[in-house]
């Protein structure tokens, strides 16, 4: 293959290091502040860049759906080396579920005519882990999830897919959707040059109307699920904490004896 057009889905999320809060009126995650690139997707971006190289030429186009025309996370990924971004942002998209988001992303991705679509196995804040497969079905593409190693060539991708007991080698023709796990590659740090270059890279900003999606099929109206309540879970009884003074192992042995497991 000569030119490889890779689309990488990137989610922009509230900083996971900041304490998370649910909006008490909607029970959705509060997304007030600045959003950042989900670290899970930085692996996809790196993988996309490497695969384009491996194919002997190609480009990475980022696709993201985010509120308030957020581009901070996209800029991070552009600084890593992605060529351009498509951002879908529209007030009607608040409260979207995974299927609604997949419909939006599918419409945006069709415009990019990808050879390969890369997403993370699951996002850090939503972790439904179903969106990329919904996307594949909507696009009519094959998909391989939980991918930990990828090579491309001859219009095909060859991957190692995590399984319950080990891994499978799976092959799929292109175009296809793959989801990568963390640790699959080492995401590069954006260089100063990369950060400067990112400022000039095109970010195509689209609304739901631009994508021609039927009203009510996406956003809160399309979500068709609701949170009923949120309650504190039964907490475990606080246990005993000891500081090792060289004899902690005897306490562990005594505890295991008490539990009658040794």
């Amino acid at each position: 293959m000569r030119f490889m057009n890779v689309v990488v889905c990137v989610k922009q999320i509230p900083d996971p290091a900041a304490p998370a809060r649910l909006d008490p009126s909607t029970w959705t995650l509060e997304r007030e502040g600045k959003l950042i690139l989900d670290e899970s997707d930085s692996y996809g971006v790196e993988m996309g860049l490497q695969l384009a190289d491996q194919a002997g030429g190609g480009e990475v186009t980022l696709v993201s759906m985010a509120p308030r025309n957020e581009t901070s996370g996209l800029r991070t990924a552009l600084a890593m080396g992605a060529a351009r971004a498509i951002l879908v942002s529209d007030p009607v998209l608040g409260g979207s579920d995974a299927l609604g988001t997949a419909k939006v992303l599918a419409a945006a991705i069709r415009r990019a005519e990808p050879d390969l679509v890369v997403a993370a196995t699951e996002s850090t804040d939503g972790y439904t882990g179903t969106l990329p497969v919904q996307l594949a079905e909507l696009l009519g593409f094959p998909s391989v999830t939980f991918v930990k190693k990828v090579t491309v060539g001859d219009g095909k991708v060859h991957v190692e897919r995590q399984t319950e007991a080990g891994f499978d080698e799976v092959e799929t023709p292109l175009p296809a959707v793959i989801t990568v796990t963390a640790g699959v590659v080492e995401p590069r740090y954006p260089s100063f040059k990369g950060i400067m270059a990112a400022k000039g890279k095109p970010v195509d900003q689209l609304t739901v109307a631009d994508l021609g999606l039927p009203e009510g099929s996406v956003g809160a109206a399309g979500a068709r699920q609701e949170v009923v309540s949120v309650e504190p879970a039964e907490s475990r009884k606080a246990g005993e904490i000891i500081v090792d003074e060289g004899d902690a192992h005897t306490r562990i042995v005594a505890y295991l004896e008490q539990l009658k497991v040794i």
């Binding site: 699951e122 179903t130 497969v133 594949a136 499978d168 799929t172 609701e226 879970a233 904490i241 902690a248």
Partner: protein, 322 residues
């Protein structure tokens, strides 16, 4: 009964049904008058097992050959639903194949999915789900607001399997429509990376190691301890990502859910995504050199100490006993 029919999509564990199938069938029986299993491969050999837990039927979508379960199972179910044979709900395991099946089915029948479900109950004739959020500190309840069939992706070990004493389930084969490109991925080789000893998600004792072990070689301490206790060795994602141990060792949100009698966490901080996979262990021992590590908030016995000092002595003490 709140519902008429629930389909339970059953993963395979070799020739048998995976344990999650029996967990889900047991729960589904409580919620619906008819429970039917949907699986792939041979149905006849699992009809007795499925029936014993209360399933009335086992529908197979046939031999997968080199294909992946996701597109095949989803297309077969969607075809049944389109033909008027629709259940009220579809239960799917939160497994590798389960997520594929749920995602594809959702897009095919245009119905939403609730994932990471750890509990289901009937309220006013409809199903309400439970989800453990913030590492299990809070429970979120949710429900679908539109007509079914709703798709529920359920975490392993959410329900205790119980036999119902039923006879063998009726067996039939469901047609799989042409998958087009969606079925084009094929498995060309399978690699097993499990170790000897009890399986991680079935062992009575699990010893897991994390980044606090410092380096890959130190994981041997975890393996030695697990072996002495006749348990299984597990890991946090940090050391799986680092390549110290295979993925099949991972405990947590994206890995295995374990519920052993004793869980020993060594050099693991206790990130929410780790806790969600081991928090229901009956007894938890944590060894961590940082007194502030979140793992101590759920430990029954917490040892503030260096794994490299505590583990060798513990291993030695246990060796003395045998």
């Amino acid at each position: 009964m709140a519902l008429n029919t629930i389909w339970v999509v059953a993963d395979r564990a070799g020739a048998k049904l995976a344990p999650t199938a029996f967990e889900m069938v047991t729960k589904a029986r409580e919620l619906a008058s008819t429970v039917e299993v949907v699986t792939w491969g041979d149905a006849g050999s699992v009809a007795a097992d499925a029936g014993r837990y209360g399933a009335a039927a086992v529908h197979t979508v046939g031999d997968l050959g080199a294909g992946l379960a996701g597109p095949v199972a989803a297309a077969a179910m969607a075809a049944q639903i389109a033909a008027g044979n629709a259940p009220d709900a579809v239960f799917v395991a939160q497994s590798y194949d389960g997520r594929d099946i749920a995602g594809r089915l959702s897009a095919r029948i245009d119905r939403p999915v609730l994932t990471n479900v750890v509990g289901v109950e009937a309220r006013d004739g409809a199903l309400v789900t439970e989800h453990a959020i913030f590492g299990g500190a809070e429970i979120l309840n949710a429900r679908f607001t539109a007509q079914g069939p709703g798709i529920y992706v359920i975490r392993a070990k959410s329900f205790a399997p119980e036999e119902s004493g039923g006879g063998p389930a009726a067996v039939d084969t469901w047609d799989v429509p042409d998958l087009g490109a969606t079925g084009a991925a094929s498995v060309i080789a399978t690699h097993v990376q499990e170790t000897e000893g009890p399986k991680l998600d079935e062992a009575a004792i699990v010893v897991s190691g994390g980044r606090g072990l410092g380096n890959a070689d130190s994981y041997k301490l975890v393996e030695d301890l697990a072996k002495l206790l006749k348990g299984a060795a597990g890991a946090s994602r940090a050391i799986v990502d680092a390549g110290w141990v295979p993925y099949s060792y991972q405990v947590g949100q994206t890995g295995k859910t374990v519920k052993p009698t004793v869980y020993i966490a060594v050099g693991i901080s206790g990130a929410t995504q780790h806790m969600v996979g081991m928090k229901s262990s009956k007894n938890i021992i944590a060894i961590n050199k940082d007194q502030e590590a979140p793992i101590f908030s759920i430990a029954d016995l917490g040892v503030v100490g260096d794994a490299h000092k505590v583990l060798p002595k513990l291993i030695e003490a246990l060796r003395q006993r045998v």
